[in-house]
Subunit: 250 residues, 2 copies
DNA sequence: CTCAATTTGTTCGTATGTATG
DNA sequence: ACATACATACGAACAAATTGA
């Protein structure tokens, strides 16, 4: 029985989060697979070893491994051990750009699913100084897919008067900013987006097929026409593992 | 047993457990205060109304409000109602901007702790096409603090020849990009930064006093002088809850 | 082939926290 | 306030399968 002792390793502190211990453990283990610390095909430490290393009960380790088993990352064999069978997917194919021209470079092979559509729904008002609210908006909630995987969930609110000029099928093929940009006769005087970080709650984890508590990026967007009217408000959430932001500084 | 799904956009899905329901509720309410949906000084809906709206028991709403009360965001008065007393402290005080001039606006009251310093250490090379590596670099690992809380951990590599012209105390007061920018006689021909998302492993959680697996932002920076030499390479990690990226699009 | 060691699987019991009515 | 149900976390014992001596 070799307890792989890392010199100077301090006990893991699970107490800073409301997330259950076994979920935190699962994330830790998932990262080890992702980082190659536990290689595909190899056996991982025994439940007992992990329990000692992480200072938790055996049952808690097992609960964490249950999650990874559901994700097909590991396979467990009685009396033999537990083995890594796959890596979580990891690709940065969705770059949020920092200027208008490439606002959001939606890559090839993207499909957009319309979850709900509502008329005359008002968005949560962003900074009031940005522009004046339109009288009515139409609302879409959409989910973006690529390669059979969902990667973005967003709410779009568009001024009802502008909406009339948009081809309905646009909403199933184009990103929201692209719809606006390609709309003839609509002049966008100012557009803005803000990105912040967060974690996937259970509902979001379900919708984006993410592990619970995985990092996500919240994006809030708005656009104002030449008359100072807020013709577009959008807010959305990207999977953290598909977002990359490149910024040229000169 | 399944929780009832309400068709329509207003349904709030608090899936079964994992994160306690009242914690999720508290986050929701906190966001409403932050977004101004519930304004300071105003009365918020009653416990009964919130329980109906969110489809949870009254006791659960009360538990969530307990958290906000502890944070001094609300005050509750028997038979009168609950009132907003303040906004969550502006947490996003570290804005990674999208142009050079405001590269990283380090706010007031920041102190920088030097963890290690090494001579002639080579950074992990970024994209080689960006510039040619300098012969030697000096390396600092620093941790940035504000209000007694750590929020950034970074590695700085600077061309040894450039280093000689930097006052040593700069490294305890200035962000790396600021040091470069304020260095006379050094012309930066190109600078670049890339931001990606990740989560805190146990070591990082310890250093930034974060919950395990909390979202973080990885930033990789580089700068090239007029001769194409990579005079600066930096990589760092921000706490996710202090990062905000604002992008003006026109 | 038996035996022991190893390792996962299963099932108790107990305690605490969460959520509802 | 109370009773009930469920999820989490721990610890302990035992069962079942594999391996090698």
């Amino acid at each position: 029985m070799k307890t792989a002792h890392i010199p100077g390793a301090t006990a893991i502190d699970f107490s800073r989060s409301a997330v259950p211990r076994y979920v935190q453990l699962a994330s830790l283990f998932r990262r080890r697979v992702e980082a190659g610390e536990w290689r595909v095909g190899q056996q991982i430490p025994t439940v007992d070893e992990l329990a000692v290393e992480c200072q938790v009960a055996r049952a808690t380790v097992r609960q964490a491994l249950d999650l990874l088993e559901d994700e097909k990352l590991i396979a467990r064999y009685r009396a033999k051990g537990t083995f890594v069978t796959g890596k979580p997917q990891e690709q940065f194919w969705c770059e949020v750009a920092s200027d208008w021209s490439g606002q959001l470079i939606a890559p090839e092979g993207v499909t957009i699913e319309i979850l709900t559509r509502g008329e005359r729904r008002a968005p949560a008002p962003p900074d009031p100084q940005i522009g004046a609210m339109a009288p009515f908006y139409q609302h879409w909630r959409r989910r973006h897919w690529r390669n059979g995987k969902p990667y973005y969930l967003g709410d779009v609110y568009i001024d009802e008067r502008v909406c009339a000029r948009i081809a309905p099928e646009s909403f199933e093929t184009k990103t929201s900013m692209r719809i606006l940009r390609e709309l003839p006769g609509l002049e966008i005087a100012a557009a803005h987006q803000t990105l912040t970080l967060g974690s996937a709650d259970p509902a979001l984890a379900e919708l984006l097929e993410l592990p619970l508590n995985a990092p996500v990026a919240h994006v809030a967007r708005s656009a104002v026409d030449s008359e100072g009217c807020l013709v577009f408000v959008g807010q959305g959430i990207y999977r953290g593992d598909v977002v990359r932001l490149d910024i040229k500084l000169k």
